[in-house]
Subunit: 240 residues, 2 copies
Amino acid sequence: MAPKSVETAPEVLTGDPKHAARATRSAGRRMRSRLLDVASRLFKERGLAGTSISDIAAAADAFPSQITYYFRTKEALFVEAACRDVLYVARAAEQAALQAKTPRDYTGALVEAVTATDSVSFFTEALTLTRRRPDLAPLVERTIERLHGEGLRAYAGQIERHGWKSLRDPDASSRRFWALAIGVTVEGHAMGRSAAEMGAEMLSVLGDQATTRTEDNNLRLRLVGDREVSNSDSTDGEAS
Amino acid sequence: MAPKSVETAPEVLTGDPKHAARATRSAGRRMRSRLLDVASRLFKERGLAGTSISDIAAAADAFPSQITYYFRTKEALFVEAACRDVLYVARAAEQAALQAKTPRDYTGALVEAVTATDSVSFFTEALTLTRRRPDLAPLVERTIERLHGEGLRAYAGQIERHGWKSLRDPDASSRRFWALAIGVTVEGHAMGRSAAEMGAEMLSVLGDQATTRTEDNNLRLRLVGDREVSNSDSTDGEAS
């Protein structure tokens, strides 16, 4: 059963059926997006068990039936909100890192952006949940592939632009970055570490990712040669 | 209230009070250990939510009251079983890696041993649980410190014995190993990867950890010099 949208777009009242359908779709997208925003905030504050569908509906000024219409279950909403959230943070991290002048600044900016929020932890809870809920796995799989694919594309672009040399296969660098972000966050939260401490730990275990050509001449580094980079994952914009 | 031990040690019947007390302590230790063994197996098969105290008691041929006597809550038993389990696997991995003739074989043996079991995943669930149960955090913190400390000690010993050169700070190498083990496992389970696939992914993101001196001369590698290694964490044997 389709829900009544709380937010009725004024265009629906104009009488043109095509216009009305478009306006309804657009109002539906806005409601869906608002529910995801509110759910992300509440889930990050209180966890899955501490947040109910009615809490989210109340905070989003919506009906509980709208949540089940758009997302079916609380768990499915949790996973979708977490996947969307980690992709936002990944994009914000790449934006922040664009200004970096050296490989070390680049890694530092990425790490700072990723550890400053609770998004990796939220996403990790979604990954853990998915293990016993295989019906929710496909979205999580696509999200991991996009994190790796977009990370690789951004890193390869940065290396190319600055003429840096990657110390390892750039594809493995992106996958290593995210696996370490998850591992360091899981450990860090259990250890009661602050965001700054997790950032420092992540920098320490990541080590240097790339070097400038000048450093290269000075430091006798082993180089992974420039590679053709495939970025087939990066064109799909659906979950952004 | 002290539980009645299902397994009454025959020595208790000898009449010597000191002997009897020692025998009771020893029977208690055996029961505790059996409960941890059974709990580990069931939790790994069915997860925390899918396993009850009565299930564990029935499988261990014990009374539910013995579980609450030794561990208080199911969550505390879960965390203790997971910590013990990951330390066993870490030790088994170091044993398996002792035979390695090259740095690459050494890393390969560690990775194979760690990804062949469900223990890292079990431990990760314990870490996630601890985040909202700070009362259970101290054991988890000690376990992470021991994983890092014992990993460092074993790695430093191996490097020393073979005359290998570590490519990075050995301390960071041990911490990186465990953070990646957690990250790759969490991602791998959500992606439905097999143990072999997780092992391959882990080797790929770990990269080379050390080099032999011959390779060193051939490959132009940047070296982290030999360091004084502190292993103050490695003497405590309580949870083994």
